[in-house]
Subunit: 382 residues, 2 copies
């Protein structure tokens, strides 16, 4: 074997070692069985509740058994039948659209194991529709809603043993839609790959969030991609996020680029404020992610008798509200403990008796089956 | 072998077939030899001037023999010694930073074969510095300038037989810096890969450019990533570009997001206007790519006696200029034939006797060795 070939393989092996090392850090070694897609485990028959230290789950990556792959080949406009495959590295052309020009979308949703041990997804068709909307904006074909939801069900069930026990967390599923065909000039990719992988995650409820306000870097711009889940929305704000974290904040709140005066959202969650019986959140107008948790909380809050306002929220209004909270698939609902801007720190009520706590209990109750789902949001997959 | 494994391999094979098909479309079949990094060809001893139909080269991807790979592993801040490897697909974690959050940078530069048959690079250290600047903005480590330039030289020489004959084009080299470590939450990747691949390209001088003006979608925003070569700058403007092309335009000119009044640049090139002896171009202020061709043209023009102004250029000024032209590594310098905004089309002088033609001849003369390089811009690599 030639030297070049050997080196190439070494690189691949290094990549594999990286994945394995991640796995070993989080999980018990005996969990890493060599299995195949035809094993019983693909139907979830093999459950291992001692697979991980479920009490120490965070929102960090733990590789699971299977992923789902579906392709849209050159010259075609639709995705062909997808399939489950062992979780592992994927091969990509170095000249693929996603690696060179960032042509990609992500989604995020969770599979929950309820007290009744049933497994539920939460509004997966909403993620499918959002991916379709994003694909249209990014000049990509997208899976049908049926293909999308089916892929999520299959991914959840194939990795069933990784769904944490009730109350310990959930299985986070990450669908990706990527421009994988080779392209040299700046133009849409000739081929696309849909991929869904999964990782068990904790409840992510490690206390309230503390925000700084970012007034130099904007997350989105009118006419841009802030309203879709494009992969290009995230790394450009790493620096603002890193700087906020270095100062001890959980995250940063971004302002609207058009005026620099209104709050928009944080790095990866929508934001709400509460004043008396009124709950307000910035409107969906192209620069804010139309969060599925956001949308659901608006409905839940309305159902619980709160008045909901979707409107521009000036930064200075944060001084006068009772509560603030964030929503997102990863965090569900999380209270905001404080917001700091130009040295001024405003603190908010958190914990028992707050509106956000009431909303959190209701939403997570529906998601896990403790509260009856009268909305038709929950999809039981087993 | 299990069904899942088989399916996984099928996908990989499909990817490989895709690359091969691209190769077959453009090049003669006998060019696809199975070679290794230890073959003589790595030093460019094997030249095949009938490898491609050099007269039909465009700016589209043709796979070559070798690529260069270098890694920065988890916990390290510097890139280790890189190496050449056969060109081919790369393995990536599905949860890598670049696939999920767009953490990546690109560069572009060319190797030229002069009439004297020598091979030259043009200011490669400038690309190295721009990648470093971009890496700092995107929270990534970057190769040293020495590592970067060495990788480009090695990539050019290893693919020497793909450098077109004098006057037929050049070898375009595409360095990428990618977040390749697995990461679930929105945060910088734990590992990075530098990769450089190459493709022969034509002179790309197929007549003047005809622009529309895009006034709804912006390419960049103050505080954003418009001033660096982030992969996230390109796919978000595919839709505007596709719409412009569908109307028969070559590309779109984007306006500044802050005021919506001044021209900034096109999808992948800087823009200049000429009025009498004065050449003007928008200033580098974070929203415009600091193009290396742009920078060089400013120096060349000044050297030829033109007055240069780097300043905001209002859209309406385009009505009153004599000429307009674009610069970029892919296109070198290209005249603008017309700009159309809200149904009004303004045409410009192109061809013999124009300022842009004079500048083009001088720049390409320096790049290919026909004109003496008194600036120290050209790096002869053989």
């Amino acid at each position: 074997m030639s030297r070049g070939k050997i080196r190439s393989l070494e690189w691949i092996r290094t990549l594999r070692r990286g994945v394995l090392a991640t796995k070993l850090r989080h999980c018990s070694r005996n969990a890493i069985g060599v299995q195949t897609a035809s094993d019983a485990s693909i139907n979830g028959d093999q459950e291992e509740h001692d697979l991980c230290n479920w009490d120490e789950l965070k929102f960090s990556f733990i590789p699971t058994d299977y992923m789902y792959v579906m392709k849209c080949s050159s010259g075609e406009s639709a995705f062909s039948q997808g399939h489950l495959t062992r979780y592992g590295n994927v091969e990509l052309s170095p000249s693929s659209g996603v690696l060179n020009y960032g042509q990609g979308l992500l989604e995020g949703l969770k599979a929950y194991r309820g007290d009744d041990n049933r497994i539920r997804l939460f509004r997966p068709e909403q993620n499918a529709l959002r991916m379709q909307m994003g694909a249209e904006r990014m000049c990509m074909p997208s899976p049908t809603a049926e293909q999308f939801v089916s892929s999520i069900k299959q991914t959840a069930l194939a990795n069933k043993r990784w769904i944490p026990p009730p109350g310990k967390g959930s299985l986070y599923i990450r669908p990706l839609l990527l421009g994988t065909g080779p392209i040299l000039g700046v133009a849409p990719s000739p081929e696309y790959t849909f991929l869904a992988y999964a990782s068990p995650v904790g409840n992510y409820f490690n206390g309230p969030m503390h925000f700084s306000v970012e007034d130099k870097v904007y997350r989105a711009i009118p006419g841009g991609t802030g309203g879709i889940k494009s992969i290009t929305n995230y790394s450009p704000i790493y620096k603002a996020l890193t700087q906020a974290k270095a100062k001890g904040f959980t995250d940063a709140i971004f302002l609207d680029a058009a005026t620099g005066k209104n709050i928009e959202e944080a790095t990866a969650c929508n934001i709400f404020v509460v004043k008396g019986n009124v709950i307000s959140t910035p409107p969906i107008a192209g620069t804010i992610l139309p969060g599925i948790t956001r949308k659901s909380i608006i409905e839940v809050a309305s159902w619980l008798g709160y008045q909901i306002e979707e409107r521009a929220i000036p930064l200075e209004e944060l001084i006068n509200v009772d509560e603030a909270f964030c929503t997102g698939t990863a965090i569900a609902i999380k209270p905001v403990g404080s917001v700091t801007y130009q040295g001024q720190r405003v603190e908010y009520k958190t914990g028992e008796g707050t509106v956000s706590e009431k909303l959190r209990r209701t939403l997570t109750g529906i998601q896990t089956g403790r509260i009856e789902d009268t909305m038709g949001w929950v999809v039981e997959i087993e």
